[in-house]
């Protein structure tokens, strides 16, 4: 039972962690699609 609960906690930790990492990993549509001639932030 402990192993099962630990795994479920791990799922949450991995999901939150991957979201934090991936949102800064440079793979957003904005990062991938824009070039130097395009400004979306300003």
């Amino acid at each position: 039972m402990k192993a099962m609960l630990a795994a479920f906690v791990a799922i949450v930790v991995i999901a939150v962690g991957s979201n934090l990492y991936l949102s800064q990993a440079g793979f957003s549509s904005q990062d991938r699609a824009t070039g130097p001639a395009v400004r979306l932030d300003n």
């Binding site: 192993a3 791990a10 991995i14």
Partner: protein
């Protein structure tokens, strides 16, 4: 009499004309080689139209109309040529947007994808899950719960260590989350929006997407974990043939001998590994859109090995628009997921309500000795022999 004869003659005339039209190759002389009304009508009827007469007719100045003729205003390159190049994705386009989709102005895979996704994918996929659940319910009613035949000993054997159970539940928990959120995404428009309304479903959809994208990593990690931990126990051997020939003893009272995993469990293991890997790869293609293309190279291989021909699919297209790569990835991801979900439903059934003592293996990790002797006789003997060899003063391993 005369009227009847006239009707017969008219019928025969129409039939023969229709026959002649079907057999002959399209005559495009009247349009100067451009598509005819019949081409357009055939496409609207949903028939296959060979577009090569258009797609190949680009970039050849010799085929353009002369500069002095009515359509020759652009000299060597005609307007129709430009439009055809745009239509078939061969035009030389530059865009400040770096996405591969920015330079593909027209792609025609979208409607086919949408119709397949809303039609056969949703109906056959959903049907598969419902039929599987119904069959399991019927099986439970007919066969009943598989109980432990012999007398329980009260002693237990360690079947799965904590790390094995952790890996299993990491995979199971993430798979259920991914399955449910995947179904929410697929059936949103047809099932959830009519029930909950647009606004409530938007929260559900955004949440589902977040869970689906981020929990996928736990699934992939767990898939690697169980592969490393259990592959050695899941290699096929001679006991599997006997086990399969006896149907695993499901319909009889006897239990064919089995090692740590019986042939049925091995089939589940390899289904999870193979289908799970395929789902992971197509999922990664969707998670990082347009970063890597799976389908055009796969289609090229299927063509070159003659597999597509053998399957009656003809020659598959080896050049796909970026959008089409994503469309195929989505469909493949969903199809394989439906198959794995159906298999896992059966796995959940036999590991919980379907068999007495089975859940303990993944719950506490300790199984009743009699259960082990019945369902995994060879493994149970090995484990008991190990215990007998160990000195009595030794503390049993966790």
């Amino acid at each position: 009499m005369l009227r009847a004869l006239l009707a017969l003659m008219l019928t025969v005339t129409f039939v023969s004309t229709a026959h002649a039209q079907e057999g002959a190759s399209p005559d495009r002389e009247a349009t100067g080689g451009a598509q005819t009304l019949e081409d357009i009508m055939a496409r609207q009827r949903g028939e296959e139209v060979d577009n090569s007469f258009r797609s190949d007719a680009t970039g050849d100045p010799d085929s353009a109309a002369g500069i002095a003729s009515q359509l020759g205003t652009l000299g060597g390159a005609s307007d129709p040529e430009l439009w055809r190049a745009l239509r078939f994705g061969t035009a030389n386009i530059t865009a400040s947007n770096n996405s591969p989709t920015a330079t593909t102005l027209i792609q025609d895979g979208g409607m086919g994808w949408l119709q397949f996704r809303e039609g056969p994918l949703a109906s056959y996929g959903g049907g598969l899950l419902i039929v599987t659940a119904a069959l399991l319910a019927v099986f439970l009613m007919v066969r009943g719960r598989i109980t432990i035949d012999g007398e329980k000993t009260g002693r237990t054997i360690t079947r799965f260590k904590a790390v094995e159970r952790f890996g299993h539940w990491l995979l199971a928990g993430s798979f259920i989350l991914l399955g449910v959120t995947g179904l929410v995404s697929l059936f949103g428009r047809t099932v959830f929006i009519p029930v909950f309304g647009h606004e409530a479903f938007s929260y559900l959809a955004v949440g589902s997407k977040w869970i689906h994208n981020n929990v996928s990593w736990a699934f992939m990690l767990a898939l690697a974990m169980i592969f490393v931990m259990w592959v050695i126990h899941n290699l096929p051997d001679r006991t599997d043939i006997n086990w399969l020939l006896k149907g695993g003893g499901i319909f009889t009272n006897g239990h064919p001998p089995a090692k740590k995993f019986n042939a049925g469990q091995k089939l589940i293991f390899w289904s999870v590994i193979v289908l799970g890997t395929s789902i992971s790869v197509s999922g990664l293609a969707l998670l990082f859109p347009f970063e890597f293309n799976m389908f055009a190279p796969t289609f090229a291989k299927l063509n070159s090995f003659g597999i597509s021909e053998a399957l009656g699919l003809g020659t598959l297209r080896e050049t796909l628009a970026p959008h089409e790569e994503m469309q195929y990835a989505q469909l493949w991801h969903a199809i394989v997921s439906f198959v794995l979900m159906a298999i896992i439903l059966a796995h959940i059934y036999i590991g919980s309500v379907g068999m007495e003592g089975a859940y303990d293996a993944m719950g506490s990790g300790e199984v009743e000795e009699q259960w082990a002797r019945e369902h995994h006789s060879i493994w149970a003997e090995e484990e008991l022999a190990k215990d007998r060899k160990a000195p009595e003063s030794a503390t049993p391993a966790e």
